[in-house]
């Protein structure tokens, strides 16, 4: 998968570019970013005492701020560099990916955001478990969450190591350790409040940096996109402006499309952000703001890709990195010189830090809130104990992410983001949606739905061309689709429905009626 394909094969650079050498501006910019965000963490730490403050920033984030933070969580360095690179090397096909990543957002708005905000407290499992039996639901939900987060995290850490190595000339291991330490500090001391502001600053930096890059590039074409496209077609032919070989099998396209679209609505670190706002109305506004910024961001990456293709040239881009991941950076250097390259490189680094911090926080809350409080302590735990466990989980996840980053060095982990989206779409999303809308949904139905979605995603991706052929080098795949979501998600829904119907749970159906006041009116919402 492209998203985060990234950077893995990034090689040392040619003489044409200063990429890979220590750039004083990017190092300065990066230290400035870390200094500012550490100060924010210090400020946030003083305001982070209670559980609601640690997990949900005391529900004090405004709709607009949360919209920016959601966009920050979602716009990874890999989607910035990866999609721009895909457009720069393959043309229009890159946009098809962007569209898939964007169209999940309206669905979050229409189906999930407000009921989630009203029913839940800190994690999406709060909603699934609301009227079902706590223990079994908490256990399987945290399996779904932690699997999604782990695969996403590995892809980010390995991408980060490679990227920073290429950008700053730092050794891979040093880069991974630095990222792990800084992001652990954000989450550990500043909780959700610090994580949110890191996301907001990063989103503003990334959006403004990419905007300047587009303006500098378009300036070379008299600010006319038509001239840009004309230069592209003159050099590389008309085919660049139309869909190419990316989608050849419609079932593949549909399966990947569903994973990207509905996986977005099952990403634990995204869902968790809806608890940071005061009410459902603010949750709604934040999706609107996030969708606008993310859409604008994909427009920018599309133009950046074509500008890189026209100005830097495909052979140069592919010469440095086969996947084209350095396209945006090469373009920055060409249009704005070394100083601007340094700025964009620092922004990319900041972006990785922010995304892994969000992932770690949501993993820690799944461990402390779902597993520790509701499984180990059977729902009775004091707040102090819960936060203590959350902080220990943060440290453990920080260490784990560094280790995973080191273990998977040089491995092809690009498929892991696709896998994370597939598990999110198959294990997390169906159970969450059915628990909100379907009266007859039962504990057993939820447990089997989540397990079916998770296990099928894992097994089928191993048997798919993505791993079976591309990584294990077998002749032919056992399962034909590159992404399993079409099968794994449909099965998760089907299993959830059949099991619920076979064995009704009277108490759950009764509670469905009374939870409606909270779902729709927000009465009693936290």
């Amino acid at each position: 998968m492209l998203h985060h394909t990234l950077l893995l094969q990034a090689t040392t650079t040619t003489t044409a570019s200063t990429l890979g050498t220590a750039n004083p501006i990017s190092i300065l910019m990066f230290f400035l970013f870390v200094a500012v965000t550490m100060y924010i963490t210090y400020w946030a730490a003083k305001k982070t005492k209670t559980g609601s403050e640690f997990y949900a920033a005391g529900r004090s984030i405004s709709g607009f701020q949360n919209g920016l933070a959601l966009a920050g969580d979602y716009m990874s360095a890999a989607s910035f560099l990866g999609i721009a690179g895909m457009v720069a090397t393959k043309g229009y096909d890159g946009l098809i990916y962007s569209i898939g990543f964007l169209v999940g957002w309206p669905l979050i708005m229409f189906l999930i955001a407000e009921p989630l905000r009203n029913l839940g407290k800190y994690t999406f499992a709060d909603v699934v478990a609301y009227r079902l039996r706590q223990r079994p639901i908490r256990i399987v939900s945290s399996i779904g969450s932690l699997l999604t987060i782990s695969f996403y995290l590995i892809a980010q850490m390995v991408g980060a190591g490679g990227l920073i190595q290429t950008l700053f000339g730092l050794p891979y291991e040093v880069a991974v350790v630095v990222v792990g330490f800084v992001m652990t500090a954000y989450v550990l001391f500043g909780g959700m409040l610090a994580t949110t502001w890191v996301q907001i600053i990063k989103a503003v930096l990334l959006l403004s940096g990419a905007t300047v890059l587009v303006l500098l590039s378009l300036a070379k074409f008299g600010f006319s996109p038509a001239n840009l496209f004309s230069s592209v077609t003159q050099q590389y032919g008309d085919a660049m402006l139309a869909p190419g070989g990316f989608i050849s099998n419609p079932w593949d396209a549909l399966s990947l499309g569903l994973a990207l679209m509905l996986g977005t609505a099952g990403l634990p670190h995204i869902l968790m952000r809806f608890y940071t706002v005061p009410d459902a109305k603010a949750a709604r506004k934040s999706v609107f703001v996030a969708t606008g910024f993310i859409g604008y961001f994909y427009l920018l990456t599309f133009l950046i890709g074509f500008a890189a293709m026209a100005l830097v040239g495909k052979p140069t881009i592919e010469g440095i990195d086969k996947g084209g991941n350095m396209a945006a950076l090469l373009l920055a250097e060409q249009t704005g010189g070394t100083a601007f390259l340094g700025f964009i490189a620092a922004v990319a680094f900041a972006t990785i830090l922010a995304v892994v911090a969000g992932l770690t926080l949501s993993g820690a809350s799944s461990i402390s809130h779902d597993l520790y409080v509701h499984v180990v302590k059977q729902g009775v735990s004091d707040e102090k104990g819960e936060i203590k466990v959350a902080k220990r989980a943060t440290i453990a996840l920080g260490i784990l992410s560094i280790l995973l980053g080191l273990v998977f060095k040089g491995q092809n982990v690009a498929f892991m983001v696709g896998l994370a989206f597939s598990i999110a779409a198959s294990a997390n999303f169906p159970a969450l949606l059915m628990s909100i809308v379907w009266k007859k949904f039962t504990t057993q139905g939820a447990v089997w739905s989540i397990l079916t979605g998770a296990v099928l995603s894992l097994v089928l991706i191993v048997l798919s061309p993505t791993i079976w052929v591309d990584i294990l080098h077998n002749e032919e795949a056992i399962f034909p689709l590159k992404n399993p979501a079409l099968v794994s998600m449909s099965s998760a829904f089907l299993v959830g429905i059949v099991v619920s119907l076979l064995q009704p749970e009277k108490s759950a159906a009764l509670k469905f009626e009374s939870e409606k006041l909270r779902t729709y009116l927000g009465v009693g919402a936290e």
Binding site: Y92, L95, I96, S98, I99, G100, L102, V103, W105, P106, L107, M109, F110, L111, A226, N227, F229, S230, T233, D238, A239, L241, A242, P243, I247, S248, N249, P250, A253, L254, G257, M261, K281, R284, K285, V287, F288, T291, G292, G295, Y298, L299, F302, V437, E513, S514, K516, L517, Y520, L521, G522, V523, G524
Partner: protein
């Protein structure tokens, strides 16, 4: 926030206004969801089965694929805007009325 009396809560849930509110909320959501799904899956199908139509040119340097692709992104955002507009202007008011009933009873 005071917990509503079980009786009044039950009354609200059973009231026609509340039922209407819930069903209206889901019809709006469902219609918007289906529109989004149809547009996106329709686009994927055109990409899979009729690449030529997207490669057709509007002007020498512009194919249909570009405004359609970027148009879907814009359209998705507009749909979220429509929902926010509807919810802010219709849903929230009805919610407030019902909530007053719950809390005052």
């Amino acid at each position: 926030m005071a917990q509503p009396q079980p009786n009044s809560a039950h009354e609200i849930i059973e009231s026609p206004e509340f039922k209407k509110l819930v069903s209206k909320r889901w019809s709006v959501s469902l219609v918007l969801t289906l529109i989004m799904l149809a547009v996106y899956i329709g686009f994927l199908l055109v990409v899979a089965f009729s690449k030529e139509s997207l490669a057709a040119k509007i002007s020498p340097n512009l194919t249909w694929a570009i405004p359609i692709g970027l148009g879907i992104i814009l359209f998705a955002w507009i749909l979220t805007g429509i929902y926010v507009f509807w919810a802010n202007n219709n849903y929230d008011e009805a919610v407030q009325e019902l909530k007053n009933k719950v809390l005052n009873s």
